[in-house]
């Protein structure tokens, strides 16, 4: 059975004016993710990245790096994901060592972006901002790699940091991602080993290698 939802068909299903002149109604309370395609405005990731860069220019966030599945896609083949994880360093306020994600939400709300649980919906993408509040995440943001997406400069975590974070997180899907990085030779093994050593993850890596000798994980039948 063919399911014809591609870019072209999705854009063809954008909100239209009815004969009466009324537009398709906004679905109140429905999550952006589950809103029918014909009611969604297919904006794309460009607006998402531009807003993040504006936040940085306006001092709401410090340095940032995209992590998670979107970052992995930069190094591997694309894999479906529903949100963008953005790890940020946050400026501290004068006289306080506390950092808060609050200003990010306030900034987005003031510009009319919708907040859905922990996500800010920017264009079509729910974006989750996360504080790079431990050494590994901090390193990943500090060493972020600049890439250009649709003419917009942005920063993604280095491949080795993505692997180290996935190893530390340790879910099945994280292990699969690590295996993809290895099989596609997308990590510098020396750099990875140094990183794992620096963050106390070497023993966990050995366990991982023992569990998946040779990096075979049956992905070839996808």
């Amino acid at each position: 059975m063919a399911v014809g939802f591609g870019w072209r068909s999705a854009s063809a299903l954008r909100p239209r004016k009815f004969k009466s002149g009324a537009s398709a109604p906004e679905v109140k309370g429905a999550g952006a993710l589950l809103r029918p395609l014909y009611l969604r405005h297919n904006v794309g990731v460009k607006e998402t990245l531009e807003l993040i860069n504006r936040m940085q220019a306006d001092g709401v966030i410090g340095k940032y790096a995209i992590g998670g599945a979107v970052a992995a896609t930069i190094y591997l083949e694309p894999a479906a994901t529903f949100d963008v994880d953005v790890f940020v360093t946050l400026p501290t306020t004068k006289g306080s060592l506390l950092v808060s994600l609050g200003p990010i939400y306030e900034y987005a709300k003031a510009r009319g972006y919708r907040i859905e649980r922990e996500h800010i919906v920017i264009g079509d993408w729910p974006v989750q901002f996360l504080s790079a509040d431990d050494d590994l995440l901090h390193d990943a943001v500090a060493d972020a790699v600049e890439v250009n997406v649709e003419g917009v400069r942005t920063w993604v975590m280095p491949a080795e940091h993505l692997v180290a974070i996935a190893l530390r997180t340790g879910r099945s899907k994280d292990h699969l991602r690590i295996l993809q990085f290895i099989e596609q030779d997308a990590v510098d093994r020396d750099r990875l080993n140094q990183l794992l050593d620096r963050h106390g993850l070497t023993a966990r890596w050995r366990e991982f290698e023992a569990k998946y000798p040779g990096g075979e994980h049956g992905q070839e039948d996808r």
Binding site: V3, G6, G44, P78, A80, T81, D124, V149
Partner: protein
């Protein structure tokens, strides 16, 4: 035969991995839209709900 299929899939994955970030993100958006369309249409079957293939 199996080996040929596996090699073909590996080559496809390698090709996809070699695309530019912009091209990959566009594919990502397409994948997401398809997944959401399927989910919204209730086309996903519950695991084990029906093992018969038509």
């Amino acid at each position: 035969m199996d080996k040929k299929i596996v090699e073909g899939k590996k080559a496809m994955r390698k090709h996809l991995a070699s695309l530019s970030p912009t091209e990959k993100i566009k594919i990502l958006e397409k994948l997401r839209d398809r997944s959401l369309a399927l989910a919204a249409a209730g086309m996903r079957r519950r695991p084990g709900a029906n093992n018969n293939k038509s």
